[in-house]
């Protein structure tokens, strides 16, 4: 397995407080890695350490198979980044911003500017000053700046902040396209579950500076089996009937009025018929799919679960 980014026991202490604790993460080549966590979990700090802006207190980082140190500058050529929120030299126009960026990065294909502005849907704004841009436009320009040099690794910290739903969708398509067609490895952080769910191949969940879980979306999807939710008047009695009469054992009594059946051995028709025969009132019966949201909330609230 080729890993583009690998960290080992990465730790950062700010003023005596551990904001990132022993994070060991792996980003595979060519994948979209979703970095998920609530606000203040340490996502930005980890990403700042990956881009060498902030130096780790302990632990190490390997990018493109090379250990990062204080003087790792060359590696930055192969990366495109947005950290925290897109920051610009606001007096410059969009075009000047990208031109200068290319020169600093040592990339000299000026034709790319129009192309990349088109990709992020910022056409006809080349000569507008960045300070007159809205937050959403800045976010797009930030992405344009990050991708213009065709980096091998994109590190995007909350890139969809400040965008409208249409914009979010457009960028999602763009990220997928960049990953698929250009083979760019993308590491993207967000606190919005739905976003990560739709984009990522692998998800890393971080909370209070600790990487709670690193798991592929395939594995999450496999583990998140569908279930049938029963809303009844007497949960305990119903549970007994399920076991004794229908031989259903893989279920969970959520509370006295709710049962979740994960593995149904009898048909729904038989199920409801049997329950009614035993004087159980059924108020609702529905098929549910638990999403990444449940999975994530479980992790955040109750620590690591097994997949």
């Amino acid at each position: 397995m080729t890993y583009i980014v690998k960290t080992n026991q990465l730790t950062k202490v700010f003023e005596g407080k551990e904001v990132v604790s022993a994070v060991t993460m792996h980003v595979k080549k060519g994948e979209i890695y979703g970095f998920l966590g609530p606000n203040g979990a340490g996502k930005t700090t980890v990403m700042k350490m990956l881009t060498n802006l902030t130096k780790p207190t302990s632990g190490d980082i390997e990018i493109f198979g090379e250990k990062l140190n204080d003087r790792s500058y060359e590696v930055l050529k192969r990366m495109g980044t947005i950290i925290e929120y897109p920051i610009f030299y606001e007096d410059l126009t969009a075009k000047e911003t990208l031109e200068l960026h290319c020169e600093y990065m040592g990339y000299y294909d000026k034709k790319e500017i129009a192309h990349v502005l088109d990709l992020v849907k910022l056409t006809n704004t080349e000569n507008k000053r960045v300070k007159d841009f809205s937050l959403g436009m800045k976010q797009r320009l930030g992405i344009a700046r990050a991708i213009i040099t065709k980096p091998e690794l994109l590190i995007l910290d909350e890139p969809i902040n400040g965008l409208d739903p249409v914009g979010i969708k457009e960028l999602r398509e763009l990220f997928k396209m960049l990953c698929k067609e250009y083979g760019i490895t993308i590491m993207i952080s967000s606190h919005i579950l739905g976003e990560i769910e739709q984009l990522a191949d692998t998800v890393g969940v971080i909370k209070d500076g600790r990487l709670m879980k690193e798991v592929s979306m395939d594995a999450v999807n496999r583990s998140q089996s569908n279930y049938i939710e029963l809303i009844i008047n007497d949960g305990k009695k119903a549970a007994f009937i399920l076991e004794s009469k229908l031989n259903i054992t893989n279920f969970k009594l959520v509370d006295d009025n709710c049962i979740r059946i994960y593995e149904l051995t009898a048909s729904q028709k038989v199920l409801s018929k049997t329950l009614i025969e035993h004087d159980i009132e059924i108020e609702g019966i529905s098929k549910k799919t638990s999403s990444l949201e449940d999975y994530f909330l479980k992790l955040i609230n109750g620590g690591a679960t097994s997949v």
Binding site: K48, T51, N52, L53, T54, K55, D70, R71, Y73, E74, V75, L76, K77, M79, T81, I83, E84, I87, F88, Y89, D91, L92, L100, E103, Y104, M105, G106
Partner: protein
């Protein structure tokens, strides 16, 4: 390094600073003619020779461009940290020390050339006007001018190093007002003119200040590769 300096100058539209420096020259000229006018009306005897007049020009030009340098420092360096644009700059595959050094080099070279060129320009206009309208009772000679050349160069060299001192005050809290205020303070010490005498004339004072300026620049960025942004 030169390429980096070129990019930095492009980034901050150095042209607008050049325009401002030219504008400052006209203000300096206006102030000098006003001073001469006042001394004439008041019948002041101090301001009658070319020696004093040219010394005065040196002093004013130096004061103006030390403050001007602090504005450049505020924009090129302090502002990058204050507005966090340094995160953009430090994500380029460029040695942090080199990047900062190129910024400092721009400030020093700009200040040096501004002082030399402004002194030449202001002196030339002043002498031309003064000669044709007999503003001073003294007569201008080539030797006076030639004598001044090494002093002007020394003045420019030391002033462009002294101009780095505000960096220390500005970098403490990434404060632009602190940068500019400290430069005004420095100017008020080294350029205040009392009875044709300034602290700057005691040769070791500008030299020590210049050394302090260079040290400040070095110390401020010695650990730049290790700091968190």
């Amino acid at each position: 390094m030169f390429n980096l300096m070129r990019l930095e100058m492009k980034k901050y539209h150095i042209g607008s600073y050049i325009k401002r420096a030219v504008f400052a020259n006209f203000i300096i000229l206006a102030v000098i003619f006003m001073l001469i006018f006042i001394t004439k009306v008041e019948g002041d005897v101090d301001f009658r020779t070319y020696q004093t007049a040219l010394g005065m020009i040196d002093s004013i030009v130096r004061a103006v461009f030390i403050i001007f340098a602090s504005v450049l420092i505020a924009k090129f360096i302090i502002g990058e940290f204050k507005y966090r644009t340094i995160t953009v700059a430090f994500m380029y595959p460029i040695n942090r020390k080199k990047l900062i050094a190129s910024k400092l080099a721009i400030v020093v070279l700009f200040t040096f050339s501004a002082i030399v060129l402004s002194t030449i320009f202001v002196t030339a206009i002043f002498c031309a006007v003064s000669e044709s309208f007999q503003l001073l009772p003294d007569t201008l000679s080539v030797s006076i001018i030639i004598q001044r050349i090494p002093a002007v160069i020394m003045n420019a060299v030391s002033a462009s190093c002294i101009a780095l001192i505000p960096l220390y005050f500005g970098m403490r809290k990434y404060s632009i007002p602190a940068t500019i205020l400290s430069s005004i303070l420095i100017v008020s010490v080294v350029s205040s003119n009392s009875g044709n005498f300034t602290l700057y004339d005691i040769i070791f004072i500008p030299i020590i200040l210049a050394i302090i300026g260079i040290s400040v620049a070095y110390l401020s960025f010695r650990n730049i590769e290790k700091i968190d942004i």
